[in-house]
């Protein structure tokens, strides 16, 4: 697989450098911690600081969600590897405004350990830290063990809710509570047509036959939960949506937000065909779509595929979702 990179081991830092240059009006690295990215707008005294993060390879995650009305800082690790406690702690110290700091990150063993270590040190330094570990990927574990699920593209909604809550000067406990609710009400499932390919080897990270697709993939190039015959766009959309609706069990008249996310190399035309089907299906069920996002919001290097995320809104979540924000990846006026 061909790639526009230089030395593979430099790709993460070079891309981050590019992001900081492209979005220099919005974000900057901390002087002593180049993998800790803070918003130029912020922090504000009395506002809960919001720190997100995870491995590289999800661009525009995570720096793309740093900005006014979103996260105050992001810590970025190596490719598909949680950042160590160092940059997380540096970000924490940089953005705390006396009201505590909220961590939000996907549920991966590495992220949990590293963010926990940073939180312990921050707490010891007198910065109250709460953590919400996101678990929106319904394919990754059965409902009985929901807490074991991965956090994937639904993070975009959860970051947005959190950013708006903090921006409204809600206290730490209240921010944590609403973000937990957003996480509990966010459902994602993904599928891949092609695996991503590794930077070093430029080879696919797993083998997938020409007539197969992987259902239930995450955002780290991993294989999915089950392999099946390639399906049409509408069948694929239904596979994802049916699973999500079964768990969400919305009532007629309920409101949702929808994200059709490219895992990396799936182009806009295909995403919009999927979105169209999802919208048709939701309309038929009498479910109101409050907002639709379509694009490469949370990627898995150059994997070909999509994920579908639905956020089951309530009145407060809808208000927070609609609040203005401005970042490299998400700007609402």
């Amino acid at each position: 697989v061909k790639k526009l990179i230089n030395a593979p081991q430099d790709a993460v830092d070079e891309a981050l450098r590019g992001a900081l240059l492209a979005h220099e009006d919005l974000i900057a690295a901390l002087p002593d911690s180049p993998r800790a990215i803070r918003a130029l707008d912020g922090p504000r005294p009395g506002k809960v600081g919001l720190v997100i993060g995870g491995g590289a390879g999800h661009e525009p995650g995570f720096w793309g969600y740093v900005g006014r009305g979103l996260a105050d800082a992001a810590a970025v690790g190596n490719l598909f590897a949680s950042p160590p406690p160092g940059p997380i702690l540096a970000a924490t110290q940089a953005v705390q405004g006396g009201a505590g700091v909220l961590y939000i990150y996907g549920n991966f063993s590495g992220d949990v350990m590293n963010f926990d270590m940073a939180a312990e040190i921050a707490n010891a330094e007198g910065i109250p830290v709460r953590s919400v570990v996101t678990t929106d990927d319904i394919a990754s574990s059965p409902i009985e063990s929901r807490a074991a699920r991965r956090g994937v593209a639904g993070n975009v909604f959860i970051f947005k809710i959190a950013g708006a809550a903090a921006d409204r000067m809600m206290p730490l406990e209240a921010c944590e509570a609403v973000v937990r609710r957003a996480n509990a009400r966010t459902y994602t499932m993904g599928l891949a047509l092609e695996p991503g390919s590794l930077l070093e080897t430029r080879r696919p990270s797993f083998d997938l036959g020409p007539h197969d697709m992987e259902l239930g993939v995450g955002v780290h190039g991993e294989p999915g939960v089950v392999r099946q015959k390639l399906a049409s766009a509408d069948e694929s959309a239904d596979l994802l949506l049916d699973r999500i609706l079964t768990e969400m069990a919305p009532q007629e008249g309920d409101r949702v937000a929808v994200l059709v996310n490219s895992l990396g190399s799936t182009p806009a035309m295909e995403l919009y065909i999927i979105l169209r089907r999802v919208r048709q299906r939701l309309k038929a069920r009498g479910i109101i779509v409050h907002k639709s996002l379509v694009g490469p919001y949370y990627t898995s290097l150059d994997m070909a595929g999509v994920s579908l995320s639905l956020l089951h809104l309530d009145a407060e979540l809808a208000t927070l979702l609609d609040a203005p924000c401005r970042s490299a990846a998400l700007t609402l006026p």
Binding site: A81, P83, G86, S109, G110, A148, F206
Partner: protein, 213 residues
């Protein structure tokens, strides 16, 4: 073994892991995110750099392991970072204040590693993780006998543990999301743990060969 000689041990580990970078990446690719080779190789490369510097500054053995643990963590993050950092920090506690590490205590290193990883990761036997190597290896090394024999027993136990992961279904870590599909694949963390233990044994043999003129 003084601090410089322990740095040499780290060098052997780093070299063997660098050689296995692609292979470990492929193992991780089958059931995870394919980065395990990078994490281990980069982590121990950082350990060599930081510990060599510390040894030059005159760090004792205990401090050397602490420096090693911090540098691994900062270079790598990921799951491996906290786990091997805990392993190395635990070794630092075990050998705190010591100017040298007695060969007879080398098997204790395995016990410290296993305890550190177990405390941090909380994986149980059969979870299909590196603990399925470190646990049996540490127990095998505990049996009395000359250090070389104990290390050799540890390596055999490690290899058996690694091979046993093939028949396990992962229940913690990234591969747990694959459910039954993780069956039939060797756990990458178990494979790299064997490489670390084999490198320790190799380093020990080398050290003993140098000592006896």
């Amino acid at each position: 073994m003084d601090s410089h000689q322990i740095v040499d041990l780290f060098r052997v580990i780093a070299r063997r892991l660098a050689e296995a970078r692609a292979e470990l990446g492929a193992l991780d690719g089958a059931i995870g995110d394919a980065d395990h080779g990078n994490s281990m190789a980069d982590g121990f490369a950082a350990v060599v750099r930081a510990s060599a510097e510390a040894a030059t500054r005159g760090s004792d053995v205990g401090d050397l392991f602490v420096v090693a643990g911090r540098s691994f963590l900062n270079a790598v993050g990921a799951t491996t970072g906290p786990l091997y950092a805990s392993a190395l920090l635990r070794a630092g506690q075990r050998f705190a204040g010591q100017k040298t590490l007695a060969i007879a205590d080398l098997p204790d290193l395995l016990a410290a590693f296993a305890a550190g990883i177990s405390d941090r990761g909380k994986a149980r036997p059969g979870d299909k993780t590196m603990m399925d190597v470190w646990g049996p290896a540490a127990r095998a090394a505990e049996q009395p006998g000359p250090p070389r024999d104990r290390m050799a027993r540890a390596l055999r136990a490690a290899e058996d543990g690694r091979d046993a992961t093939r028949t396990m279904v992962a229940s913690v870590g990234r591969a747990a999301r694959l459910g039954e599909r993780s069956l039939g694949h060797v756990d990458p963390g178990a494979a790299s743990a064997v490489i670390v233990i084999a490198a320790l044994q190799e380093g020990l043999a080398h050290h003993l060969a140098q000592d006896r003129p």
